[in-house]
């Protein structure tokens, strides 16, 4: 669910960042009040935990694996405000140091994964726990909360994608950023999350909380007294808006061809996972001639193509030679692959 740069317009990114500022401010204030004992180290270590949790591969039926996000889990364990900060720091490190998720899109990613997912998940969990007063009620709350948390976060990402072609077009009517309207982006993002990722998140969250409850129940965050406040109001508003968005685009529901849906859905399924493989067929210079003529003097185009060609050749040569070297003295033991 990590949105890379350039899928969203800079304006959307700026807007999402602006939305996050008051949320972060409030979260920092709340954490200072609530977590009196171990404040700063807990936030850092909590962020490290959140980061590593996203590295865990969870088994899926059929022998494949998927990733958990853990927004609701952290909210249940640390409280929603501390979870918000921990996930924010984890996302920051992923974007800034590991190149996973965009830097400009940081605000949007935080909105989906550090705000919507933990707060909504926690709200649903609290709501059910307070109304069904039993052990079962609590686990039911965690299950539904985490399922809702990740799915609404995916829906938010889908809406962010889907409004791009509506808002940002050039004079010829071509989309400048993500070209898919809501009618495509919503099903592409939500269907895999509803069917697979949400279920993984739910089972994983319940299992971890159950383990910690059994082993060390005192470590789990005790909820604050007050419940409904501005942030929950905002989330509730979002939940109400979401179906409206679906309804508004409902007319376009039957318009896409089957191939296209399949493509987009299988693509969406792996969103958040980056295929890490080298492509031998990557041919940069071949792309250039067709498009390099536009607004540059011809000679500059040649020079540019030449530099690109030389650079690509050097890089390819070095990559290939390093593979050869690896084969001879391969020491990539079993756990380095």
């Amino acid at each position: 669910m990590h949105i890379p740069d350039n899928y969203l317009s800079p304006m959307t990114c700026a807007a999402m960042g602006a939305v996050m500022v008051p949320i972060w401010t409030k979260a920092v204030k709340k954490v200072k009040e609530e977590v009196s004992r171990v404040k700063i180290p807990m936030l850092g270590v909590g962020a490290a935990f959140s980061f590593l949790l996203m590295m865990f591969n969870v088994p899926l039926p059929g022998g494949t694996t998927g990733h958990a996000v853990g927004g609701t889990l952290l909210a249940v364990l640390l409280g929603p405000y501390a979870a918000c900060i921990s996930v924010t720091v984890a996302l920051f490190i992923q974007a800034f140091l590991f190149g996973d998720g965009g830097i400009l899109a940081f605000g949007a990613n935080c909105f989906n994964m550090a705000f919507v997912s933990p707060f909504l998940g926690y709200f649903v969990y609290k709501l059910i726990k307070d109304n069904v007063k039993s052990q079962k009620g609590e686990y039911l709350g965690i299950a539904i909360g985490s399922y809702a948390g990740i799915n609404v976060a995916a829906l938010c990402a889908a809406i962010e994608f889907g409004i791009q072609p509506l808002l940002f077009k050039d004079s010829a009517g071509q989309a400048l950023y993500c070209p898919y309207p809501l009618s495509v982006s919503i099903p592409a993002m939500t269907i895999p999350h509803l069917l697979v990722a949400g279920v993984v998140e739910m089972i994983f969250t319940v299992a971890i909380v159950a383990y910690i409850k059994k082993v060390s129940p005192g470590t789990i965050y005790e909820g604050a007294k007050e419940r409904t406040n501005a942030i929950y109001g905002l989330i509730l508003g979002l939940i109400c808006l979401a179906p409206l968005g679906l309804l508004a685009t409902g007319t376009a529901w039957g318009e896409w061809g089957t191939d296209e849906i399949k493509d987009v859905i299988t693509g969406g399924n792996t969103l958040g996972f980056i295929p890490k493989g080298m492509s031998e067929g990557f041919n940069f210079s071949a792309v250039m001639p067709d498009y390099a003529i536009g607004g540059l003097p011809e000679i500059a185009g040649y020079i540019l193509s030449a530099i690109a060609g030389v650079a690509v050749l050097i890089i390819l040569f070095r990559v290939i030679s390093s593979f050869k070297k690896d084969k001879v003295g391969s020491h990539n033991g079993s756990y380095r692959k």
Partner: protein, 246 residues
Amino acid sequence: MIEIKNVFYSYLDIIALNNINLEIKPGEAVALMGANGCGKSTLLKLMNGIISPERGSYRFDGEEITHKKLQDSKFSKQLHQRIGFVFQNSDTQLFCSSVFEEIAFGPRQMGLDELEVTKRVKDCLKLLNIENFENRIPYHLSGGEKRKVAIACVMSLNPDVLVLDEPMNGLDPKTQRWLVEFLVKLNKAGKTLIISTHNLELVHEISTRAILFNEEHTIVADMLTKELLKDIDLLKKVNLVDKYYH
């Protein structure tokens, strides 16, 4: 049982094993000794199939262990059943919510029926002198108790070879003494023991043969433990002891 020939291994360009040659026969009790960072732990990892040699060969019971074979889940599972590994940090080895579950984890995976599983768990608890721990939570046990549970959950797999990484570390003298006697008992029962240790006082009791590493990550001595302990010059040379040791 174990045959290691001309093995090299390095982590990100830092050499950890430098031309290691070693043969261990069934029923032996062998101690691996050497200063911190000399490659003992890496060698133990290699024996257990967590890593595979960069160069050279490793044979377990006549069969060569390669990176490719370890990728085969059936093969690596069989290896893991036959050679048990007790980690230096017992905390990392325990992840179930009760001691019973922890010890039953292995036998259950082997497809034994629940009656046999319970018998094995009870026997292991008795063997390690922790009978009343059955329903305790591993996470909250003391260091020594955790070590015992970790050993129990490896024993329940009934491995032929038992590998222990610094088993005496962090234990009080009484528990250390108990562990020595326990290991001797296991060895007499026919289990092959491979133990890495810094404990010069107890090493001759748990092992008959000692392998000494130097700081260049290679083996410099392979002799009777008793004799190695007498060769203080050699121990000084590999920086295991200082000039005040006698």
